[in-house]
Symmetry: D2
Subunit: 273 residues, 4 copies
């Protein structure tokens, strides 16, 4: 294979029976405010990671999202006060893109609760890679969020829900030449949709791209990109994350999650007046 | 109640706790070609129906959809050759909106199969009211599609999936002062989402707004509007149908449904070359 | 209506088209250890509640469950040390049936976490009425678990998933002459199945019987039984709770929730040896 | 690997963290009448297939099911009148187990419709391997039911829904040393549960064990066993098929699918009398 990040396009989708080229993605109509959050430690402590993401994973992701005219981007990292996820920042965020890895336990309980609250009130959430085990996801999902894992594998990502907006413009499968293996059983609640299913050369499968809804908030969990490989430089991966941002963007947003409400008089009493 | 089609806005969503006004719906980015299909018999044979829909239900629906700059509309009716749903028309249709009632058995088997094929290949489908029992829906769903029904009831439509795009701009519930009752048990496959659940004054409930996917095609079934009541003149109902058209519009469209494909060599053999 | 808890049987299911009488429920094969938990305060402080449940709601529920030869029952209440839900009790419990109401905030965080952990590891959970807002359910579901409510309504419970084991032996609908109204929007994750949907005379609908899975644990939330009405004395409600206990009983049970596991060598390396 | 059909047990499930041995499966309480249907042509025309299944695939499957005291079995094959699936046989069948391959088009339309009708009325259906493309499944599912395939691959079957009754007593994964590859995109409606996900050495993934419900009938599609390999001799595969029979067995069975029912007077009018 000549190019390390080439995509092998699907025969099934490309030729027989009659798969047309993916149409160009048009404008989608709404401006979206994105905050890209990154733990930002590996890039400072490991030379190989810094080579791949010299300004941090967040700047790589922010960079390709900024090319989308309908997206404005800010970034935040672990070392900022309140991890940069203050009440003001989250209130002004339509979609939070979240990458973390090693500092799961060190993450503030209070900030994790705050993010949960904003998701319940409508903020979109795109969780990448090890973020499956973030405090945020464990609070939102209610399962152990555990899985099996191994360094140094290779993944092929299959589209298993081709009509989903997050699969827009994405080929039938994508080869990721190097990736950390995440394998089943993945202890998650039943996803709304399994948009991508991963095949690993080491012999495993994984539900690599899953959607969930919590309150008014839409959530997309996406398993790729271990920090030691240039996965967020792949155009197909960028397309998926960009699609996810558009899909997660809320059209309803509350200031707080819904609360129990006593109703008196009844709807029928009001209606009959 | 002063206005017969007024909407009682939800206390839960409007005020405590902090429900903001529905934001205006912005442009959504893509042009959509819609074909509105109507049986168009009641309007010609029953004077009360003609009074409500003088040019037919199809023209009422086409009329409000045409106000959307991103939608172009054609119409078709039962009495046209091939019911107006020729290969050419369907190939040029992104979303088919379908209303029928009495002529379920008389509908062409061949045309029903053709519509099914186009849905499987990606065409969106919005099925209204008695269309639950159309040959098209029975072919696509695989269940009996049966229900309990009664003339002369009153419905309240609750949003039970407020983050769904089809609920965009729609209040927490909508009162429909007169409606034919459709009641559970409704024999459908488990829907992807139950966006609306109906309450009937006569004592029944119904899954009144359901989404399904078949192949690359998205389907929305929406229980309102019996032909004897001016339900498609209600702005909230128009908003829902318009939202559904946008949601069902495909971004992938094949010329034919997918077929079984023999794969040789394997992906791995190709990849390793 | 002569009898206050009579059930109106469904015409749709009973006669045309050919609905047979519900077959008797046979043995289901496994012994199940149930713990019935009750807040047990209303019964001590309010005379009308004591009249309905003189020994407490827990003893009423334990009483009808004990008639099932495949079930053994213990009970526990709020005022016991650790609310009676110690590590030993939960480890020896296949299914926990849980009723609470007023002391949501006073419930121990530690015990709530312990119950969550046991559910993730396989313990079944049947949550009744106000338990939707228990700390346990909020931890397991990840949404606000809020709803709209009102005293003094009447409910009709429809079976909306008749093939589900929890609907076994249950008629098409059940009338509950007096019930506290719980209405949509009910802020829950999408249920695996909505087995029962409630209609309220006051004009509301509710997803009154919902299943969820978290880890290896099965969960059934069931909206009926406000303490001021003798709802748990109704044979149909007893049948549903008994069915739910059988459905929630685990066949796999871990000592703890699953954990992340590093895999080395890979499955393929092991397989090829 | 010493034994060609050995199972590599999951480390994740077996040891850390604390996975207990699968408990023995107890009696499940109900007698089930099973009809095992087989095309039964390969076994007569191809010597290698006859060697593996000397009396036909149906007799192999019937053989291990007969060891279950709660199951009684009859068999039927393509060459019988009406393929052996007469009205009498189906009316007396709780669960139909169905294997076919080459004679998809030659299968009687009338019999396919009859099977569909019985499933809608409550008969359970276990569809094996190429049965995905049977007329029966295409009628029941409403999608193209197509996939990608290739001879001569190897499969590893992962449990992706360990709390499902069909996964009872099944290890975390099962190795099938030789199998025909079936790969995504598999054009099915969203399954109720994906109990098993397949990994193929040739580089593909597949939703290999899926549940669906149509009307009152439960359906399990299970991708293994190509006729050239002794897959139905594997104890784990036998356990899964046996579990599926128990899971699909109906507790409600109509004589015919449900029909539309006019309701008059309303439930409320009846209730208030």
């Amino acid at each position: 294979m000549s190019h390390p990040f080439a995509t092998i396009w699907s025969d099934a989708f490309k030729t027989p029976p009659n798969y047309p080229p993916h149409p160009p993605i048009q404008r989608r109509g709404n401006m979206i405010k994105v905050t890209v959050w990154n733990e930002f430690h590996h890039e400072k402590t490991q030379e190989p990671v810094r080579k791949i993401y010299p300004e941090g994973i967040h700047e790589c992701i922010a960079g390709f999202l900024r090319k989308d005219e309908e997206i404005t981007v800010r970034t935040a990292v672990f070392d900022m006060p309140e991890h940069g996820l203050t009440e003001d920042v989250l209130s002004d965020t339509d979609v939070l893109v979240f990458w973390n890895h090693m500092l799961q336990d060190e993450f503030s309980d209070e900030v994790a609760e705050r993010v949960k609250r904003h998701v319940q009130a409508g903020m979109g959430l795109v969780v990448l890679h090890s973020g499956h085990y973030s405090k945020i996801m464990r609070l939102l999902m209610g399962t152990s969020m555990t899985l099996r894992w191994r360094h140094g594998d290779r993944e092929r990502l299959f589209v298993t829900c081709p009509s989903h907006p997050i699969a827009q413009g994405v080929p039938a499968w994508i080869d990721i030449p190097e990736e950390e293996m995440y394998g089943e059983y993945f202890d998650i609640p039943k996803p709304d949709d399994v948009v991508f299913t991963g095949w690993f050369a080491g012999g495993e499968v994984f539900r690599s791209g899953c959607t969930f809804t919590r309150g008014l908030g839409k959530i997309f969990y996406f398993q790729p990109g271990h920090e030691e490989y240039p996965i967020y430089h792949m155009p197909e991966i960028q397309q998926i994350i960009s699609n996810a941002v558009h899909w997660c963007a809320p059209f309803r947003r509350l200031d707080a999650p819904l609360d129990n409400v006593a109703v008196n008089p009844s709807i029928e009493e009001e209606y009959r007046e």
